[in-house]
């Protein structure tokens, strides 16, 4: 009875919302801020990917908030999953042996490829679709695949936490450097080169590099905590 009631409620709510949403001007949106950003972004920031300039230059504070949320989630997950002092959880940790030949050979081949693709996506974030978050996920997947093949050999937790902390501090440091230079917090710095070159768009690739390293280290540490 309870399931039938919630099903009817959800169907009624969906019908009402669909009826409302078809009246909205979707598909012909009156873009106010969007149109202004589309016209001014290549000139002001120098990046060919306009979504990157929105994420890092025009709404940089939101990206800082997202990094803070990810940091909080990964840290709390690591604290919650830390091995407790109780005896039963210590008895459960049995040494896991290596995986079979296919997984080991595949991970040995895939690890450098995934690292190269991850860094490519991170560093070209201002030219092509991509950026720090996507590249960071690919970097975390590289370490996760090598961990699946050899569970006994993990990267040291201290190194991973150090990379994450330094990358996060670098992001805030670049933002503060803009503040000290007389502009606003996280205002794009440095000289914008020509549009479309790898070295262009000022400090935007540096910001994305910091974001990519932080997200990659965070997610690989989170997966290592979940796995052991």
């Amino acid at each position: 009875m309870h399931k039938l009631a919630s099903l009817l409620f959800a169907m009624g709510l969906a019908a009402l919302l669909i009826g409302l949403a078809t009246q909205l001007p979707l598909g012909m949106t009156p873009m106010g801020v969007g149109q202004a950003i589309l016209e001014r972004a290549p000139g002001e920031t120098g990046s060919a990917n306009i979504v990157t300039s929105v994420v890092l230059a025009y709404r940089g504070i939101d990206t800082l908030g997202e990094l803070a949320i990810l940091f909080a989630a990964a840290t709390v997950a690591g604290l919650v999953l830390a091995p407790s002092i109780h005896a039963e959880s210590q008895a459960r940790t049995k040494p896991r042996d290596d995986a079979g030949l296919v997984l080991r050979a595949g991970s040995d081949l895939l690890f450098p490829l995934l690292l190269a693709v991850g860094f490519y996506i991170v560093l070209h974030g201002h030219l092509t679709p991509g950026g720090g978050f996507q590249g960071g996920v690919v970097l975390a997947a590289a370490f996760f695949v090598s961990f699946l093949a050899r569970p006994a050999r993990q990267p040291s937790h201290v190194g991973v936490v150090l990379i994450e902390a330094l990358a996060g501090a670098a992001f805030i440091g670049i933002g503060l450097a803009a503040l000290l230079g007389g502009g606003a917090f996280l205002q794009p710095l440095l000289d914008q080169g020509t549009l479309g070159q790898l070295v262009s768009a000022g400090s935007l690739p540096l910001l994305y590099l910091a974001v990519g390293l932080k997200v990659g280290a965070e997610l690989s540490g989170l997966l290592a905590h979940l796995a052991e």
């Binding site: 169907m11 709510l13 060919a48 994420v55 709404r59 997202e66």
Partner: protein
């Protein structure tokens, strides 16, 4: 057989709101905690689709400047930046929920929400020193008010 082509925007609206509704039903109906987290992920996916749809324009291209001359309009880049953030936050929330589920399973031995409700209530009432509630309609028990003291003159 020629049919008039269906409206793209209507199809996507139905898809987005349908995902949100399926996620809502899943969260209300499921008994296992992991299925609850999966339903939450479905609802988040539906909301992200609706957000990106809000910035869409007819016959517009992606907001990336290639070397070619700009002749066609571009879609709105601001909702795409918001959805980038939302997707990554969603996976962070799911990871934290999984970590909490592992601890709940270690502490109580079950992940069924009705059994967990009774056992958590017993734990809280045992720690507070009161009796566990019998039903939702009478949380204070069958005697929630203090009994009025009758004087000896009335009973005589």
């Amino acid at each position: 057989m020629t049919m008039n082509p269906p409206d793209l925007i209507t199809i996507l609206i139905v898809g987005g709101i349908g995902l949100v509704a399926i996620g809502a039903v899943g969260m209300a109906v499921s008994r296992h905690l992991l299925r609850l987290v999966l339903a939450l992920a479905l609802a988040e996916a539906g909301v992200n689709l609706l957000l990106v749809l809000a910035g869409y324009r007819w016959d517009a291209v992606a907001p990336i400047l290639t070397g070619a001359a700009v002749t066609r309009p571009m879609v709105d880049p601001v909702p795409q930046a918001l959805v980038l953030t939302a997707i990554v936050i969603g996976v962070g929330v799911q990871a934290l929920a999984v970590a909490l589920m592992i601890r709940v399973r270690e502490a109580y031995g079950t992940l069924d929400i009705r059994e967990l409700k009774t056992r958590v209530e017993q734990d809280i009432c045992g720690a507070a020193g009161i009796a566990p509630p019998e039903s939702a309609n009478a949380p204070g028990g069958s005697q929630p008010y203090p009994v009025p003291v009758t004087t000896s003159r009335e009973s005589a």
